[in-house]
C-alpha cells in the first residue's frame, strides 16, 4: 500500500510498546464477545479488526482516515474482548493511548483538513467543565430536579419542546433519571455499628455524587452495618476518566495527583468505590501515570486499596441481611466490573443472601449496555441499539427489579426502558441499595 505517492503518514501510536500489538495472534476468539461486532458483523468493528487497524496505522500501512477513526470511535472501550482473549491481549492499553494520541494530533488526512487540537464546544463545556465538578454538577441539576418534581420534563418531552435542544443535550436530558429530593452531602466521618472490623474511605466521584447520592448513603450505611468506620475525605476529586479518555492528559494527571493525596491515609484498609466506571479508572492509575507522566505520582499504595464495594464486602463477609424482599432481580453485569475489574460473582453472592430475592442472570451478559461513559452522547445510534438489546435480554427474565453496579449503566437502562415502554416502571437499583433495604427492613419502592 505504501508506494511513493503516499503522503507522509501521521505518526500515531508510536508511544505504544509494539509488543502489545504482537500479543494479538489474530485468532478471532474475541470477536463474538464484542458488542459492536455482534451488531454490525463488520470485522472493522471487532477487537481483532481494531487492533489490526491500529497496528497498520503504526506500521505505516494505513492512513488514519475518517473511516478508520470511525471504527475506532465506535469502540465502547468495554473491554469485553479482554475477558474473551486467551492470549491476554491488553486491549484497553492499546486503544486508550491510541485514542489519546488521535485526539491530540487530529492530523490532516486527504478527506479531512487539518483541525486544531481543540475539543468541540460540547466536550469543552459539558465533559470538561460541568461533569467533573461535583458542586457545579449539583447546581446544574437543580432546575432539572424542579422540572421533574413539577412533571414539566415529561410535558416538554411530550409536546416536543426538548427536540429544540441540540442532539447531545437532548440525549442528556433523556438520560436523566428520576432524581428525587436532594439528599444532604455525606459528612466527613460515619462510625461503625457494633464491633469494628475495618476502616474504609468512600470515593464519591462527580456525576455520581450529584445524581446518585442515595447510593452513597446506602453504601455508607451497609458498610457501617458491617462494622466499618467510613471516612469521606472532602478533598477528593473526580477520578479523571472523562479527561483521560478524551485525551486531556494534563487535567487527568492533576486529578490523579489530588486523589492520591486525598486517600493517602495509611490507616485505611480499603477505599470503597461504588461506581464501576470510576473503580476501573482508579485501579488503572499506575498504568496511566506510566503512560502520561512516568514517575510523577507514586500511586502504588493507594491503587492496591481501591476496592469495589461488592468486592470488599464479599471478601469481608457480610452480616446476614434479614429484611425480606420477595422479588425477581435481573442482574446486569457492568463492563467496568466484569471485564475491567473481573468482578462477576461477588455482587450476585451478596444479593443471594437477601431473603426472598431471586437473582437471575440474563442472556448475553458479556455485552455492554451501550452506556460506556459519554458513549451514549457521542455514538447515539449504536448506544441505542445496544441499549435496546440489553433491555430485551433483561425483560426476558421478567424482573421486578434490575440491579446494576454502575451509575452509567443505570442511567442508560432507565432511559432505554422508558424508550421501550414509557409506562414501564421497573426500578433500576445498585446492589448495595437492595442490601441496604434488606438491612433496614424496607420493601421495593413502588
Amino acid at each position: 500500500m505504501s508506494d511513493e505517492n503516499t503522503p507522509q503518514l501521521p505518526v500515531i501510536g508510536q508511544s505504544i510498546p509494539y509488543e502489545r500489538f504482537l500479543d494479538c495472534v489474530h485468532c478471532g476468539l474475541c470477536t463474538s464477545a464484542c458488542p459492536t461486532y455482534v451488531e454490525t458483523g463488520d470485522e472493522n468493528d471487532s477487537p481483532r479488526g481494531r487492533i489490526y487497524l491500529m497496528r497498520s496505522v503504526v506500521d505505516g500501512r494505513l492512513e488514519l482516515t475518517d473511516k478508520v477513526r470511525g471504527h475506532l470511535d465506535l469502540c465502547l472501550d468495554c473491554r469485553s474482548c479482554e475477558t474473551a482473549c486467551p492470549s491476554g491481549v491488553q486491549y484497553g492499553r492499546l486503544l486508550e493511548p491510541f485514542r489519546v494520541e488521535m485526539q491530540a494530533e487530529s492530523p490532516a488526512t486527504p478527506e479531512r483538513p487539518a483541525t486544531p487540537a481543540k475539543p468541540d464546544w460540547f466536550h469543552r463545556w459539558f465533559l470538561y467543565g460541568l461533569f467533573p465538578n461535583r458542586k457545579w454538577m449539583n447546581l446544574a441539576l437543580k432546575p432539572a430536579r424542579w422540572m421533574q418534581t413539577l412533571r414539566l420534563d415529561r410535558l416538554a418531552q411530550n409536546i416536543g419542546l426538548t427536540r429544540l435542544l441540540p442532539e447531545r443535550l437532548r440525549r442528556m436530558q433523556e438520560q436523566l433519571p428520576w432524581l428525587g429530593a436532594a439528599q444532604p452531602a455525606l459528612p466527613e466521618f460515619l462510625s461503625a455499628k457494633g464491633e469494628r472490623r475495618a476502616r474504609v474511605a468512600l470515593f464519591l466521584g462527580c456525576v455520581a455524587d450529584a445524581m446518585f447520592r442515595p447510593v452513597h448513603w446506602a453504601t455508607a450505611r451497609v458498610l457501617q452495618e458491617n462494622g466499618c468506620d467510613v471516612v469521606i475525605p472532602q478533598s477528593q476529586q473526580c477520578c479523571g476518566a472523562i479527561h483521560y479518555h478524551s485525551g486531556a492528559s494534563e487535567p487527568a494527571v492533576e486529578l490523579i495527583r489530588q486523589n492520591v493525596s486525598a486517600f493517602e491515609d495509611e490507616s485505611l484498609d480499603a477505599i470503597i468505590v461504588n461506581v464501576a466506571g470510576c473503580g476501573s479508572m482508579l485501579k488503572d492509575y499506575t498504568h496511566i501515570i506510566d503512560e502520561l507522566a512516568p514517575g510523577s505520582v507514586d500511586t502504588t499504595s493507594v491503587v492496591s486499596r481501591f476496592k469495589d464495594v461488592s468486592e470488599f464486602l464479599a471478601e469481608l463477609g457480610i452480616r446476614s441481611p434479614t429484611g425480606n424482599i420477595s422479588a425477581v432481580a435481573a442482574y446486569q453485569d457492568a463492563c467496568h466490573l466484569q471485564h475491567a475489574q473481573q468482578i462477576k460473582t461477588q455482587p450476585i453472592s451478596l444479593l443471594q443472601q437477601i431473603p426472598g430475592l431471586t437473582v437471575k442472570q440474563i442472556g448475553e451478559p458479556e455485552l455492554c449496555c451501550g452506556a460506556a461513559g459519554s458513549y451514549n452522547l457521542t455514538q447515539p445510534e449504536m448506544s441505542d441499539r445496544l441499549g435496546q438489546r440489553k433491555v430485551r435480554n433483561l425483560l426476558d427474565v421478567s424482573p421486578d427489579v434490575i440491579v446494576s453496579g454502575n451509575a452509567g449503566c443505570s442511567l442508560q437502562l432507565q432511559a432505554q426502558l422508558r424508550k421501550e415502554n414509557p409506562d414501564r416502571t421497573i426500578p433500576v437499583l445498585h446492589p448495595i441499595e437492595l442490601l441496604d433495604m434488606s438491612y433496614r427492613g424496607e420493601g421495593l419502592p413502588s
Binding site: 504482537l22 485468532c27 476468539l29 463474538s32 458483523g41 482473549c85
Partner: protein, 486 residues
C-alpha cells in the same frame, strides 16, 4: 477463473452489488478492506476488492449472480477463525460475509434438530439450548467465536468429537447458493434420503461448492452424568501408552486430551489450577453417560493409567473444578504467549497406536532444529497439535520452523495418518495434497469440484492443488506470525 490476471472489479459491478445489499452493507475502500486480508492463518495475505454483508439467501443469490455476470470470484467468510487460510480471497474479488445471517430459525427438541443460519456462532446454539437437556455436540475450541457455516465448511472437530463425532455426523441438511446463484437444498430432518449423500459430501468442502445459507443440525441429549479426571505421568512414553491402552480396552471416553510439560507450565501460570509442574505429561479424561456406569468406567481408566505408570489420577470433585480444567484445556493456546512471542501449530493425525512414535519423532525434530515444541492435543483421536515456538522477527528461525513443521507432517503421512484432522487444507496445506493422494485421486476430486463449481468462481485457489485461481501470484507471502489454534 482460468485467467491468470487478477479479476477486475468495475464501478458498474459495485453499483450492482450496492443495489442488492445497500451501501451500508458494502465495503470497498482500501482502509476498510485491509482487515479482511487474512483469517486465523496470517502467513499469506490477499485483500478482497469488496466485502458484502448479506442478510438472506436471496441476497446471496443475487450477489452470486452479479459475480457470475461480471466474472468476479467470490469467497464466503464466517468468523474468520480458519487456521488454514480458508477465507483468503485469492486474487481478490468479493468476500461474502455471513456474520449478519445469525438467526436460529428453529429448535425442535422432540425431533432433535435445529435449523440455523450460517452466521450463528457455535456456542450460541448451545447457549440457546441450555436448560433443555440437549446440546449441539461438535465443540471446537474456537466455539465461542466460529460460526456453524464455517464449521460445516471445514467439518470441524473438538475435544468431545472422540465419542460424539465431528460436524458431518451432526449435519443432516444444508441449503446453499450454488455457483450459478440458485438456492439448492440438500438433505433435511427426515430419516432417510433418496438421493446421494450430498450433504455428507458438502460438509468439509471448504467453501468451494457455494455459500451455505441454512443448516439443519442434529441436537444431542445431554449425558446424565460425567466424570472428569486428570492423570499425571512422569514420562511422555507412559502417557501415550496409557492412551493406547484405554482405547484398546474398548472404552470410548467422551474426551481424551493430552498436554505435555511445556504447556502445563504455561497453563499453571495463567490459571493456577494446581497442575504438578514436574510432570512430563498429563491426560485430561472425561467419561460420560449413565450415573450407574460412569464410576465403573472412571475406575477402569484410573486402573489402566496407574498400571501404565501414572503417578497420580485425580478425579475432579466439583462442577467448578471441571469447568476450570476445561477452560485451561480450551484456552491452552492463549497461554503460549507466556512461553514465546510467536508460535505455529500443526494439525497432523496418526493412528492412535502410533502416538508414542510420533511424539518421539517430534522431540527429535525439536532437538535437531533447535526449535522448542510443546504439545496439547486430541489424543483419543490421534489428532496432534504440536506447537512450535519461535520469534517471528528471527527470519532464520522461521525457516527452521517451516522445515520442522514439514518434517512432522511428512512423518504423520508415513505413519499412515493425515496432515489435517480438523483445520482443513485451505491454502496452507495444498502442497501436501499430492503427497496424501494419487494424481488420479486429485483428478477425481477436481472433477467433483467442477460438478459443483464448474468455472471455479467460488473460493478459487483452495483445497486442491489443481484448482486454478485467478492471480495466485497476487498472494502476499509474509513470514509466519503467531498463530493460535485448537
Amino acid at each position: 477463473m482460468s485467467t491468470t490476471e487478477p479479476c477486475v472489479v468495475t464501478p458498474e459491478f459495485l453499483r450492482e452489488l450496492a443495489q442488492i445489499v445497500g451501501t451500508e452493507r458494502l465495503l470497498d475502500s482500501k482502509d476498510e478492506l485491509l482487515v479482511y486480508e487474512c483469517d486465523g492463518y496470517v502467513v499469506e495475505k490477499s485483500v478482497p476488492d469488496v466485502v458484502v454483508f448479506v442478510e438472506s439467501a436471496a441476497e446471496v443469490s443475487a450477489v452470486v449472480k452479479a459475480c457470475v455476470k461480471y466474472s468476479v470470484p467470490f469467497v464466503p467468510r464466517g468468523a474468520g477463525t480458519s487456521l488454514a487460510g480458508g477465507c483468503l480471497p485469492v486474487g481478490g474479488g468479493v468476500m461474502i460475509s455471513l456474520t449478519r445471517m445469525r438467526q436460529i430459525v428453529e429448535i425442535n427438541l422432540r425431533d432433535r434438530f435445529a435449523i440455523v443460519e450460517p452466521g450463528v456462532v457455535n456456542l450460541n446454539l448451545s447457549r440457546a439450548l441450555a436448560g433443555s437437556g440437549f446440546h449441539y455436540a461438535p465443540d471446537p475450541s474456537s466455539q465461542g467465536a466460529c460460526t456453524i457455516g464455517g464449521n460445516v465448511a471445514t467439518n470441524s472437530g473438538g475435544p468431545h468429537t472422540l465419542k460424539y463425532g465431528v460436524t458431518v455426523n451432526h449435519v443432516i441438511g444444508v441449503e446453499f447458493v450454488n455457483t450459478e446463484g440458485d438456492i439448492v437444498r440438500l438433505g433435511g430432518p427426515c430419516g432417510r434420503q433418496n438421493d446421494f449423500d450430498m450433504t455428507g459430501l458438502f460438509v468439509g468442502s471448504e467453501g468451494t461448492f457455494g455459500v451455505v445459507t441454512k443448516v439443519w443440525v442434529r441436537i444431542t441429549r445431554n449425558p446424565a452424568a460425567y466424570r472428569t479426571m486428570l492423570a499425571i505421568f512422569d514420562s511422555v512414553d507412559d502417557c501415550s501408552q496409557a492412551i493406547s491402552n484405554i482405547i484398546g480396552a474398548g472404552i470410548v471416553p467422551a474426551a481424551l486430551e493430552m498436554m505435555d510439560k511445556g504447556i502445563v507450565g504455561a497453563l499453571e501460570e495463567a490459571f493456577q489450577f494446581g497442575f504438578p509442574l514436574d510432570a512430563e505429561a498429563v491426560l485430561l479424561i472425561e467419561v460420560d453417560g449413565l450415573e450407574v456406569a460412569v464410576d465403573d468406567e472412571a475406575q477402569t481408566i484410573t486402573q489402566l493409567c496407574t498400571d501404565t505408570g501414572a503417578r497420580e489420577v485425580r478425579l475432579s470433585q466439583t462442577d467448578d473444578e471441571r469447568a476450570l480444567l476445561w477452560k485451561c484445556r480450551k484456552q491452552a493456546f492463549g497461554a503460549i504467549g507466556r512461553l514465546s512471542p510467536s508460535y505455529c501449530t500443526q494439525d497432523g493425525v496418526v493412528p492412535r497406536t502410533q502416538l508414542p512414535q510420533i511424539l518421539k519423532f517430534i522431540a527429535e525434530v525439536s532437538e535437531r532444529h533447535d526449535i522448542a515444541v510443546v504439545n496439547v492435543f486430541h489424543a483419543g483421536d490421534g489428532n496432534l497439535h504440536p506447537i512450535l515456538l519461535f520469534d517471528e522477527r528471527n527470519a532464520e528461525q522461521v525457516q527452521r520452523v517451516m522445515k520442522a513443521s514439514d518434517e512432522i507432517l511428512e512423518k504423520c503421512i508415513e505413519l499412515g495418518g493425515s496432515v489435517t484432522g480438523e483445520h482443513g487444507i485451505g491454502v496452507e496445506k495444498i502442497s501436501f495434497m499430492n503427497r496424501l493422494f494419487t494424481e488420479t485421486d486429485l483428478e477425481v476430486m477436481e472433477d467433483v469440484r467442477k460438478t459443483f463449481n464448474p468455472s471455479g468462481i467460488c473460493s478459487p485457489g483452495k483445497l486442491l492443488p489443481t484448482a486454478g485461481a485467478c492471480g495466485m501470484e497476487h498472494i502476499e507471502r509474509s513470514h509466519p506470525g503467531r498463530k493460535a489454534a485448537m
